[in-house]
Symmetry: C2
Subunit: 377 residues, 2 copies
């Protein structure tokens, strides 16, 4: 008999209150009942986004909304600046390429964070750049970007600030309006604690002006169609009805706990995880610029990182994430967001200890859990 624990940075575990809503008989989406759900979800998303801007909802993975953030803002001939410091930063570049948008790539070593001054330098030189594409939390490395500082730089330019906050929203602070983020993209299966299948964007008045002029082709992700439907508490296309109902419940839970309390909890848990792995003699992948939603740890010398993740999952039921692309086998990642609690972390670190020990890594059994208890108490 195995009990399963999920500590991956998306999908994250779903609270029972939310799971239960998805087993209810489905309702039709063109009804007053569903209109009220749309309205509630839109309002509560603004709370999580810390914004007065419209928040649009798509039936898609986060990548669909990332594509929309390019096709709706830009026109052929426009240039973009893409900050690439991991798998998801690179994705913005790939989308630009697919749509024939020339972009300046600001490459940051995986595990490091971007220096906002470099963005300033590029924008100073290149007036054709219409938008800067960044990532709040790079899920592949666990690095958080200082969006506030980038926002300050962008105040001096015409360019719009686009933030991929897919694994950041509701995990760590994103002050959309205060920091001047024009378009913030997110997804449902991370801090929002529901299954994957919904994607979101907030759109500032400045971004709407760009959207009015944009000539890149789009249909399913056409922001204007979604804006038009907002006023009618409608959706342009059939929405993912039961995910919307799940989202309403998850947002209620978030509001009940309160954003600031949630961020503090995530911070404390992330701090505890980092302390625990360090006591075990492990090294953080990026000690300086962590998101409190996910921590990446270097796999120690001589240990097979992919095997470590597999044994934890298959033999002990504990799901953590391995490294992606160039980090495959080199790191593992532990999420500390949403419906992941202190007790999950205890099971996770204890299992990590057990498996590392089985694999021949030398350290004091119980030392990680001890450190965790110390920090979390």
């Amino acid at each position: 008999m195995l009990k399963n624990y999920l500590l991956t940075p998306g999908p994250t575990p779903i609270p029972p209150r939310v799971l239960e809503t998805m087993a209810r008989p489905i309702i039709h989406h063109r009804t007053p009942e569903f209109q009220r759900i749309i309205q509630e979800v839109e309002e509560d998303l603004k709370y999580v986004y810390q914004t007065k801007n419209e928040v649009l909802i798509f039936t898609a993975s986060g990548t669909g909304a990332m594509e929309g953030a390019i096709t709706n803002l830009l026109s052929l001939g426009d240039k973009a600046l893409v900050v690439r410091g991991g798998k998801f930063g690179e994705r913005f570049g790939e989308i630009c390429q697919a749509y024939g948008i020339e972009f300046v790539a600001l490459d940051v070593e995986w595990g490091k964070t971007v220096d906002p001054k470099k963005i300033d330098d590029i924008l100073k030189k290149d007036k054709k750049i219409k938008a800067v594409y960044t990532t709040l939390c790079e899920t592949s490395t666990g690095v958080a970007t200082d969006i506030e500082a980038i926002g300050r730089v962008l105040k001096n330019y015409e360019a719009a600030l686009v933030v991929d906050a897919i694994s950041g929203l509701a995990a760590i602070p994103i002050k959309t309006d205060e920091w001047g983020a024009d378009v913030v993209v997110s997804g449902s299966q991370k801090g929002l604690m529901i299954p994957p299948g919904l994607a979101f964007v907030s759109v500032s008045p400045k971004a709407w002006q760009m959207i009015e002029k944009s000539t890149l082709p789009k249909y399913y992700f056409d922001f204007k169609a979604y804006k038009k439907a907002l006023g009618k508490t409608d959706t342009p296309f059939t929405p993912a009805v039961n995910l919307m109902i799940a989202l309403r419940e998850a947002l209620k839970i978030i509001k009940e706990e309160g954003l600031d309390v949630i961020f503090e909890r995530h911070k404390k848990m992330a701090f505890a995880v980092r302390g625990a792995v360090k006591v075990m003699g492990l090294e953080l992948f990026s000690p300086d610029a962590y998101s409190d939603g996910v921590t990446a740890v270097k796999v120690p010398q001589g240990i097979d990182g992919e095997k470590l993740v597999k044994i934890m999952r298959d033999k002990y039921g504990v799901g953590i994430a391995g490294g992606q692309d160039e980090l495959k086998g080199k790191i593992f990642r532990i999420a500390t967001m949403g419906y992941i609690t202190a007790t999950d972390l205890i099971v996770c670190i204890a299992t990590l200890e057990t498996v590392l020990s089985e694999m021949g890594y030398k350290f004091q059994l119980g030392s990680g859990v001890g450190a965790l208890e110390e920090t979390l108490k």
Copy 2:
């Protein structure tokens, strides 16, 4: 106390066995467990599609896959032929327009079916047409198109045959390979009996050849990326995990009953509904070319059609669909597909009788239900 019944042509009711799967704790998508689910779902979709072609799965509404059927097959300068006989036929035209694709519109009066000879005539004259876009079941009017006959016409041409089978798949027959349908688009919330949020396309070898040459921009709906992932039992972007698990269960139910038995059941139910409303003195919107998945009925003179649908829903808990766009208030639609049974139809027709009578329409109470019983016995 009200008990709710849903007889709308999407979303359709979800069997309890399927609902239950969505309340289970979520699993991660990059695991052997989820790989087996992908594999099973892909295989079973081929059964429902009656095809050996690849079937790709998107996290999106059906419209997303419709967009993909244009952006993946065509290139700037190509022409399309779009058969428009309702709201959803028109959508293909709108997508062509959004992507700068010139198209010949073959307009069919709403409620009528297209004459395949007209397609032949157009293709004969215009060699630049690379693809014909049609609708298996036009949900807005309930009309079914003779895809088999169109397929025969297209055998003499290079043009690909694209079929929107969103509300047709698993509701009425679509013999993808036998009829020569190159791309068949579908969605999850109709005959497949799960919530909206997944979209599908089957792709023939001939369509793959066109896709290789296509230059229209795409990223999230890039068929080639999904094909590449198929071989690895993977998805290019985070899939809608719990909808995939629900789909696996729904496909099991479909296989247990058997496609042919399902089609017979739908046919019998649709026939019964049509008989019942005729006995009540009502008129079918299109008597000749009905899909067995949905029946559109004209609202009788002097009755407010929108009010009829509202009273049935709000006072009696019975959800049927009204008319859309130009048919608003003029028709109502009753679905007979998926997890809609004879007992649902009895409640639906009895409620329709009650409400029509309340609204002043003159007929023999019980006559519709009597006719229904007679046909369904």
